[in-house]
């Protein structure tokens, strides 16, 4: 058998950092990138005598995440201690949730991998639970294997995390990547997490197994760790599936293992066997009291959720009448969608016009300047004002691009920029007619060409008018006038 004869069964375990101001069990700042060990206190250092107190916002964010993932929200939840020894774990236990996670039994829908079929795949979310981050180890040497010492920075220790576990419902590496992209989008919409794998605010482990097509039982699975991007997740799962297929084809069994993705080797490598997996000795944390989750709170939080990507996409297509492609692109980023809608709110022209400019010039400038959408200085109102100028024919499209770029960087009113830089387009018929007549008179040969059927020469005449007006003539009006004057 070859890999195509097997069905790949994938489950993902994702950890996402929550964007609270302070840590989950103490008041230290969660800010990233500052001096090592500058955001620590006795609690997140696990010093003798300290006790944890839950950050309300972390709980609320976890519930929001659960709602975005269509989960049920527990009526009663509590924390458990997960015990193991590692230098980056200050208390030698992680406060986590085992038996009563805050959210459970949800789902996310993604498009099925086209090579497997069509339609939508419903990926079950087994649970979403709260836990705390550990500190960060920096190893001397080039890798863990050849280091002689490690350095510990506990700034990250105690940052709130949600752990999201899926049912083994994914069926291909492509679907795994799609799931992650969808998850990132959903969490971005709720505002609870940045989900930046490259920055460490999102981590993903995968459980991969194979079974002959048509079978319903599960094969032996391996856990894959150490994947640093969505692409790496896709590639790693692919390689692992190939590895397992090779073993099974050779009549060998897959051994339950934890394997690490090695980017340079392009394969997964053995880390540890599952037989010797840790006994975490979970028990309910006696220092934290249970949480009764009032339904009022859940409903209030549900009300705080923005319109989610799927609904937004549908509304853009059905109500705003913009193409599916545009709808997908714009709704694919909450800040972009919000900006788009803010412009629409103050612009009375067609949504497609806004969409074009947002997807085109606006996004180009965002990418070029490498900034976040909220850092763009041009307000939605001013953006709409610019579009209005174009609609009224007061500036040309190319002039508008220049104005947009300037307003993007300075926030200045487009009207002022147009004034200041004298970019106003001349659209006045009478004014232009006079110039057109002048140019026609001055270019008899071109006129001859036009009259004899060479309509390309119209462009030349338009060009001359543009020269006369130093580019400010409205080319559409000029073109129309020329045709009129020459009786075309």
């Amino acid at each position: 058998m070859a890999l195509e004869d097997y069905e790949i069964v994938i489950g993902l375990e994702v950890h996402a950092e929550l964007k609270t101001e302070s840590k989950i069990f103490c008041g230290c700042s969660t800010r990233f990138g500052d001096r090592p060990n500058s955001h620590v206190c006795p609690v997140c250092l696990g010093m003798p005598g300290v006790l944890p107190v839950l950050n309300k916002k972390a709980l609320e964010y976890a519930i929001l995440a659960g709602l975005a993932l269509n989960c049920e929200i527990a009526e009663w939840t509590r924390f458990d201690r997960k015990q193991y020894f590692y230098p980056d774990l200050p208390k030698a236990y992680q406060i986590s949730q085992l038996d009563y996670p805050i959210c459970y039994r949800g789902f996310v829908e993604i498009p099925v991998d086209e090579r497997l079929g069509t339609g939508v795949r419903r990926v079950g979310i087994t649970r979403v639970h709260l836990e705390e981050e550990a500190g960060k180890s920096v190893h001397s040497g080039t890798s863990l294997l050849d280091s002689t010492y490690s350095l510990e920075d506990y700034n990250r220790s105690g940052i709130p995390l949600i752990e999201i576990v899926t049912e083994p419902d994914l069926r291909s590496p492509v679907e795994a990547r799609r799931f992650l992209e969808t998850l990132k989008l959903l969490l971005e919409y709720t505002g609870v997490s940045d989900c930046k794998m490259e920055e460490g605010s999102l981590r993903c482990d995968a459980n991969v197994s194979l079974r002959p097509k048509g079978e319903t039982g599960f094969g032996v699975r391996c856990e894959i760790k150490n994947m640093n991007s969505f692409k790496a997740v896709e590639t790693a799962i692919q390689r692992e599936a190939e590895r397992q297929a090779e073993l099974l084809d050779a009549g060998q069994a897959v051994v339950p293992e934890t394997r690490g993705w090695d980017e340079t080797l392009g394969s997964t490598v053995f880390m540890r066997s599952k037989e010797s997996s840790s006994d975490y000795r979970y028990f309910p944390d006696p220092d934290l009291v249970p949480i009764v989750v009032e339904r009022d709170l859940v409903e209030r939080l549900r009300g705080l959720l923005p319109e989610m990507p799927q609904q937004r996409r549908r509304r853009y297509v059905e109500e705003l009448r913009i193409p599916e492609y545009d709808a997908v692109l714009i709704s694919g980023s909450r800040p972009l969608a919000d900006y788009f809608e803010s412009v629409l709110a103050v612009y009375d022209g067609p949504a497609k016009v806004v969409a074009n400019w947002i997807m085109g010039e606006f996004l180009r400038l965002i990418n070029q300047r490498k900034i976040e959408i909220r850092e763009a200085k041009i307000s939605p109102e001013r953006f709409a004002a610019l579009l209005k100028l174009i609609d009224k024919g007061q500036i040309s499209a190319s002039a508008a691009k220049e104005v947009l770029e300037e307003a993007f960087d300075t926030g200045e009113d487009p009207n002022d920029i147009v004034e200041r830089r004298a970019l106003k387009q001349i659209s006045d018929q009478d004014e232009l007619a006079a110039i057109v007549d002048k140019v026609i008179e001055a270019n008899p040969r071109a006129v001859e060409d036009i009259r004899s059927g060479n309509h390309k020469a119209i462009g030349f005449v338009v060009g001359q008018v543009m020269r006369e007006t130093r580019g400010q003539a409205n080319p559409k009006v000029v073109n129309q006038l020329i045709r009129e004057r020459l009786g075309l």
Binding site: M47, P48, G49, L54, R281, Y282
Partner: protein
Amino acid sequence: MELISKPIHELIGLLETRAISAEELVRQFLDRIDQVEPKLKAFISVDREGAIRAAKAADQARSEGRACSRLAGIPVALKDNICTKGIPTTCASKILEGYMSPYDAYVVERLRSEEMVIIGKTNMDEFAMGTSTENSAFFPTRNPWDLSRVPGGSSGGSAAAVASGEVPAALGSDTGGSIRTPAAYCGVVGLKPSYGLVSRYGLVSYASSLDQIGLLTGDVRDCAIMLRVIAGHDSRDSTSVQTEPVDYEANLDEEVAGMVIGLPKEYYGAGIDPKIMELVLEAARTLEGLGVRVEEVSIPTLDYALAAYYVIAPAEASSNLARYDGVRYGCRYDRATDSVSMFMETRGRGLGLEVKRRIIMGTYVLSAGYYDQYYRKAQQVRTLIRRDFERVLQHCDALITPTTPTIAFKLGEKTEDPLSMYMSDVCTVAANLVGIPAISLPCGMHEGCPVGVQLMGRKFDEARLLRIAYAYEQASGLQMKKAPVA
């Protein structure tokens, strides 16, 4: 004037009227410490300079007429598992030798806000695990009444310090009897408050669901005064309850006639020294003489309390002590070349035998395959014990029992057999399992050693409990006298 045998409630008056100065007071206690410490060894650290400085500051405030607490200048000692800035907090363990906490425990903040003088940190069983203070990694403390005997544990240093006049009051901690047992053995008053009444923030955890900070004092009135200082809600402890501040001293001498006190027959079985039984029953009769109705009750699940305790406490301890790994603080075994052996040797060498024993035990009962059979089972039995106590405390205002099955035993007598040591806790552990307040009071002497009677009350009903204790104390005429420390 000799001050070391005076209770706090008298010292307050003397300070207020300027009959004495705080400096004079503190110096007397420091002299007493110098005098008896060589034999007693109740202290791990004595902060002589800090104490005199604080005493002088209190005198200054009073002489300048500045508002200050009535307790300002009065010295107090703290068990060495309570975090203090500026004085090491060692928990009597090599692994924390020299450790300087960057923060004060809640109770220490409260003592400082009353301008009391923290005179030093007292000896204890390492990490509060023990019943004799012989498990201290540094040295044992001796019983002031008989230096060949133990002072009890794990707050042995605090009890011995109060009993011998080194300090008028001391804070201890009680997880299975660690305040009450030494109180009984040393002849002082020892109170374990209701769980949740006193913040555990800054108490080095042994068993989180059982630990409470409490008091060792010379008499009940002092205990009431000090309880008001340390009780109170603390937002840094999620298990700290919000209660209205109570003036425990206010109604101390109110009538106790008409109250009902239960005598749980399971506490009076085999294993209790008959002479102790006799003294405790005499105490019950004294209370009857005051109009209290004493009736026999039965708490059948009591027989399982010790077993439940010795599963739950080591389990939680094994988790709470896992952080002592040599990475961020404490002593580290520095000849390890990898993290695993560093952890193993740091803990293997830095932790004492009893601590290691309980960690192994606790790890075992939490491990896969054994959790349900041991830890979960013990917590279920705990629920049954709680229900039993709740039933009995419906109509009983308090319960009266011996505090310990024997008088203080000789040093070294029980160290070879851990299980026999554990048996000393048989009368005390239930109060921790259930979370109710319990107080030990001197009720007589036997073979030259003090004997304690224990009263247990309803949750957060310390006011009533202290009233009963006070009534007994006054009627018995057995207010503590300071041990001569021969």
